[in-house]
């Protein structure tokens, strides 16, 4: 049910039957290591190309989510997937493996929450009772696509971010069908608009995306007449340290009751203070792995009862950068509430 201009509330409160997160070795040495379901010891994930490795990560996350829900692959009614690769190849090939009806979606790094929002919407509307959604990214396939192959050893400015090698998947079910119960429900989501403040530097995606994050968070507050006080935690997808600061200051300036306690960013949470990641983590797997691993685990343990994940995406391509276009950005937000305990 649409409330306000861009927020859907879900009266049936679709259930998160399970969620799984899979990461590479570098992410597995970070502060969230014990929150992930699977940590690969090698960035090739047993494959012979970075792209195949990324596909394998997504397949791993989907398999794990299906297993954790106690379901068989055949019980998945729809798969909603997307990723950063050109023509979404990780998701297309994972969808071939799954062999269930498939909807490809793209919102760059916001794909995680675009997929989760649509999955919840399909379940809430009664058009499905069991939907799998997932996304992945790989540091080396993303560097190769958007910057330079890592083997070139190119130098980066401190505003640059580190694409997460990993994947996340979740199974959303109707209350009647839920086979497993995490106690987590999706209660609303806000679909973002494209916001472009004229930034052209692909080494400062956090700065480019910050206004889109603020636009969607404020739209959500307006649509539902809520504020930071109504949430235990609001987490952006991958603003990193630079974008986080811009978003924080922008919300302060707009009079919101933002605090560092209640407003965090998956790109900062993923790696902590590791200097190699520069401004922080990014990639579609950043918000997916942090949400489906760290945040959901924290909610199940009772740390937070109501959170909003506002995943940000920079909708650029190598061609738009070469053609000197600025970077259009978007942010899709999903609200998750714990009914357990």
């Amino acid at each position: 049910m649409l409330q306000g201009h861009q927020t859907w509330i879900f009266p049936s409160q679709p259930v998160i039957a399970s969620a799984a997160s899979v990461v590479g070795p570098f992410e597995g040495k970070g502060p969230l290591a014990r929150d992930f379901d699977l940590i690969h010891g090698d960035t090739w994930i047993g494959q012979d190309s970075w792209e195949k490795a990324e596909k394998r990560l997504l397949e791993d996350a989907c398999e794990k989510a299906i297993e954790k829900a106690g379901l068989e692959k055949e019980q998945i009614q729809f798969f909603i997937g997307g990723d950063l690769m050109s023509q979404l190849i990780s998701s297309n090939f994972a969808a071939r493996t799954l062999a269930v009806p498939f909807l490809g979606v793209f919102g760059a790094c916001s794909t995680s929450m675009e997929g989760l929002a649509l999955a919840a919407q399909l379940v809430d509307s009664g058009n499905a009772h069991t939907v799998l959604c997932g996304t992945s990214s790989h540091n080396s396939s993303a560097e190769k696509t958007f910057r330079y192959p890592t083997e070139y050893g190119g130098q980066k400015p401190p505003t640059a971010q580190w694409t997460v090698t990993g994947a996340g998947a979740a199974i959303i079910q109707s209350g009647q069908k839920a086979v497993s119960n995490t106690g987590l429900h999706i209660t609303s989501c806000t679909i973002g608009r494209v916001v472009d403040m004229g930034i052209t530097d692909p080494f400062n995606m956090g700065g480019a995306m910050a206004p889109a994050a603020v636009d969607t968070i404020e739209a959500h507050f307006r649509d539902l007449r809520v504020s930071f006080a109504d949430y235990d935690l609001i987490v952006t997808g991958d603003l990193g340290r630079v974008g986080y600061r811009i978003a924080y200051d922008l919300m302060k300036k707009h009079g919101l009751d933002v605090s560092e306690d209640k407003f965090q960013d998956c790109g900062i949470l993923m790696y902590g203070d590791h200097p190699e990641v520069l401004a922080g983590g990014s990639g579609a797997a950043c918000s997916a792995a942090v949400t489906y691993g760290h945040l959901f685990k924290g909610m199940m343990e009772g740390r937070w009862r109501k959170i909003m994940v506002a995943a940000t995406g920079a909708l650029l391509s190598p061609i738009t950068v070469q053609q000197k276009e600025s970077i259009p950005c978007i942010c899709h937000a999903v609200v998750i509430e714990s009914r357990g305990g």
Copy 2:
């Protein structure tokens, strides 16, 4: 409402408030010329790159659809868009211009019907009352991405297809909100699975996609217990002559009552017998422009009362071809019925 495994029926029968089709000069000389809303005289569409030209085509189609529905841009609640470009840049930049909540989708050339299906689903479920969907492709931007820049003058085998330069957009509304009435309603859709028969030749996409088209058409028949007899016309997206023949023979072999009268292909309809297009038209704009131009016009004139558009997509990328992967394909189908006359 889900019926069978992969078909949604829409009890509210969302209204097609308007639809618009825009094409380039070559398409404008084809047999469907008088069915299009706008024919550009020059493939650059007044831009300085093929990618910007493709974006402009999509913007034109969206503007035209909004104008034909008698709406203002601000009355569009959601825009669902996607295209063949890496990271969907045509749609992202068109969404920046529209400045309304945006969902990016990708199903290669099936994006047209993926978008239309989701738009109808959002309206039918009451999560929106006015949704715009659209897609575009450009011969030169697609050739550059998937084959060679046209300026290279590369030779092609007779199984190759010609990417349509054009765009199509439609506005879907709830019955209560419909401002304009074409008399056309969306009554059901079938979401496809990925089908891959092992074809690796990107110059034979029709052959690769044909089994996906048959898979979705048969799934639709099974889910709704219907057959060719229940439709005035079933049209595939862009199988071209080679893929059409394979799909036709496959359906005959499976015992379906297929006939050349009732089963057609947008890729053949678009250019007729023009030798330069080899096996026929392709691209996301092929099914979009033919459906929103030619087919909808024919329905409004009473030529057909109930049609199914089964748009096919080859989910490959330049990287998957280089890495010698086969081509995963998909097909999404939408049923449109005329209530006019």
